[in-house]
Symmetry: C2
Subunit: 341 residues, 2 copies
C-alpha cells in the first residue's frame, strides 16, 4: 500500500497540516515535532503523490522562468521545442512557464532577466545565455534567495546553478577525430577551424580533437588551428587563406563557427568533395552543405533533449523534492551523414 501524509500524521500523532508544513519546509513547527515527522516520513519511505500535489497546486501553479536567446537564433528552435514538449506533459501538473528572450551578446540583458524573474516570484529558472560576471552574480543571488537555476546548452561556470545539461564537448572532439581518421588517407593534412580559443567551450573540442587524432593517426598533420570568431567574413577569409597556403589540405574540422563560410571557401577553390569536412550541429547551411556533398559528417548534440531534460530536472527538483543527482547531464552525441536526413 502506498504511504500518504495521513499515515505519517497518524503515526506522529499530529495533523496532516503539520506534516505538510514539515515536508515542505514551511515555518511554524516546533523543532522536535519536525524531527519526529521527518524521521517517520523517512522510515515509511514516503514520497508525495504527484497527481494530488498537482491538483492542489492548480490554484496557484509553480512558476518556472526560462531565459534563452530569441526566436531569430535558429539553433534554439529545437531546444525550445524540447522545453515545450516537457511543458505539455507537465501542463496539468501545476507548473507554469514564463519566457524571457534575451540577446545573448548583451550581458546586462541576461542578468536583468534573472532578476526580473526572481522579482516575479519564480520558483525556479532555466537559463541559457551569456556566461559572464554579471549573470554569474545574478544566478548566485537567485539561488541564495532559494530559486534554483539550471543551465542548459551553455553553462555558466563557477556559479551556484544546481546543474548543467548540455553536450559533452571533449566527446564531440574525439568523435570528429575518429571520423576524419577513418576517411583520410595516410599523411593527410588537416585544418581546424574554431570560434575563439579564448573560450573554454571552443577550446575544449579542439583540444580533444588534437589529442585523439595525434594518438591514433600520428601520420596526419594538423597544419593550423584558425579562429573565425563566429563571423562569416573572418571565417571565410581564414579558410580561404589556409587553402591557398596549403593546397594539400584534405580535411577540415569545423569545431565551431560559420559552416556557410566554410562551404563557400571550399567552393571557391573547387574542392567540393575533395576536402573532407566534419562539422557540428544541423543548421540550414549544414543541411545545404551535406546535400551538396561538401560536408561528409556532422556531429549533433540533441538540442531538443537538452530543453526537455532541463525542464524535467527542475520539475523533479522543485515539485517532487528530488534534487539532481549529478552536476553535469550530457545529451547524446550523434553522428549524421547526408543519408541521415
Amino acid at each position: 500500500m502506498t504511504i500518504t501524509i495521513k499515515h505519517i500524521a497518524d503515526k506522529a500523532g499530529v495533523s496532516r497540516g503539520t506534516v505538510d508544513r514539515v515536508l515542505n519546509g514551511r515555518t511554524g513547527v516546533k523543532p522536535e515535532v519536525r524531527e519526529r515527522v521527518l524521521a517517520i516520513a523517512k522510515e515509511m519511505d514516503y514520497s508525495p503523490n504527484v497527481a494530488a500535489k498537482a491538483l492542489a497546486y492548480s490554484k496557484k501553479p509553480i512558476l518556472f522562468g526560462v531565459v534563452m536567446p530569441p526566436r531569430e537564433i535558429s539553433f534554439f528552435d529545437e531546444v525550445r521545442r524540447g522545453i515545450q514538449n516537457a511543458a505539455d506533459e507537465l501542463k496539468d501538473l501545476g507548473i507554469r512557464l514564463e519566457y524571457e528572450y534575451v540577446n545573448n551578446r548583451k550581458q546586462e540583458e541576461s542578468a536583468a532577466a534573472i532578476d526580473k524573474l526572481v522579482e516575479m516570484g519564480a520558483d525556479g529558472i532555466l537559463f541559457s545565455a551569456m556566461d559572464n560576471d554579471l549573470t554569474r552574480a545574478s544566478i548566485d543571488r537567485a539561488v541564495k534567495q532559494g530559486v534554483p537555476v539550471v543551465t542548459f546548452n551553455s553553462d555558466v561556470e563557477n556559479s551556484s546553478r544546481v546543474c548543467f545539461i548540455g553536450q559533452d564537448l571533449p566527446k564531440s572532439g574525439r568523435i570528429a577525430a575518429g571520423l576524419l581518421s577513418r576517411i583520410l588517407k595516410a599523411d593527410s593534412k588537416v585544418l581546424v577551424v574554431t570560434g575563439s580559443l579564448n573560450f573554454h567551450a571552443h577550446r575544449s573540442r579542439v583540444k580533444s580533437f588534437q589529442d585523439n587524432l595525434q594518438q591514433t593517426r600520428s601520420d596526419i598533420e594538423i597544419v593550423n588551428v584558425v579562429e573565425g570568431f563566429d563571423q562569416y567574413e573572418l571565417t571565410f577569409s581564414q579558410i580561404d587563406q589556409a587553402l591557398h597556403q596549403e593546397p594539400g589540405i584534405e580535411g577540415i574540422y569545423m569545431a565551431t563557427g560559420d559552416v556557410g563560410a566554410c562551404i563557400d571557401a571550399i567552393k571557391r577553390h573547387g574542392k567540393e568533395g575533395k576536402v573532407k569536412v566534419v562539422c557540428n550541429d544541423l543548421l540550414p547551411e549544414t543541411e545545404r552543405g551535406m546535400k551538396e556533398g561538401i560536408i561528409d559528417f556532422t556531429i549533433v548534440q540533441n538540442p531538443s533533449m537538452q530543453g526537455y531534460r532541463a525542464l524535467r530536472i527542475l520539475f523533479d527538483h522543485r515539485f517532487l523534492g528530488k534534487p539532481p543527482e549529478i552536476e553535469y547531464y550530457f545529451t547524446e552525441t550523434n553522428i549524421m551523414i547526408p543519408e541521415s536526413m
Copy 2:
C-alpha cells in the same frame, strides 16, 4: 480560464455525472443529450485535467499489459529501461503495468499472453514478439474487445494494432550504404550478411542498402548476399567461405545477425582493420568488435526511446483520449563509432 466538466454541465443543463458518462463513452445517456454535451465540449475546447483524472483513478488504476521477450535477450534491456522510465513518470498518474515475458520463437506463447492480459481486464497492451497468424488473431480479438494494442520494436503486420513504434529499416540500410561509400576506395568488393531474406524486416535493410550503394557508388561491387539465419555457426561459415572465395572483399555490411560470428571470421582470416565493417545495434559483441578495431561503424535504433514512446502513446490514447496521430513512429537512426562509447 481553464474549462472543466462543471462548465460543460452548467452550459448543457445536466449534471457533472452525465458529462462524465458522455466524455468517457459510458452507457446510459439519451442520444440527444450525448450529442449536445459533445458539441458543447468541442465548442469550449475542453480537455481533461490529467492530475484530477489521475487522482480519481488512483483507487482503480488503468492496467496496461506489456508483452516482450524475457530478460535473457539482452537487446531488450534498453527497451525495458525506456518503458520503466515512462512508467516512473506516470507512476502517480493512475496506471499500472503487468509484464508478460514470452519466448519470441514460440508463437503460441505470444498469442496466449495477449489473451491472458485481456482476460485480466487490461485497458491496453504493448506488444513486441512474434509476427505470425496466431498472434495476429489474438491482437485482432483484443482490439475488437476495445483493448488497443501498440506494437514496438518489431511490428505485427496486417493486424489491427493501433500503431507501431520502431526503427526506419530502409533508412538504416541507406545510412549503411552512405558509410561504406565514404570509407571504401574505388572498385571495392562488398559482402552483405543478413538473417533470412524471407523476413520482410531483414530484406528491407538489404534492399535499401543495395539500391543506395548502386546509385552513389556503381564502382563498388556487392559480391554476395548471404543468410546466417541468426545463428552463430551458420553466420560464421557463410562469412568464412565468402572471404575464402573472394579474398578481395574490403567491406562487410552486417544487416542482421550474429556480429560475434563476423568478428571471429575476420580474425580467422587476419583481416582485422583491413575489411571495413558496418553493422547494427550495440550489443556486447558489437562493443568488443569496436574496441578491437574490427567494426568501424554501427547503426543504432534508440531502443530505450522505443519503449518510452510506446508507453506514452498508449497513455495518451487511453487516458487522455488522444489517439496516435500516425501509424508508424520511427525512432532516431544514429551512427556510432568506437569513439562514441
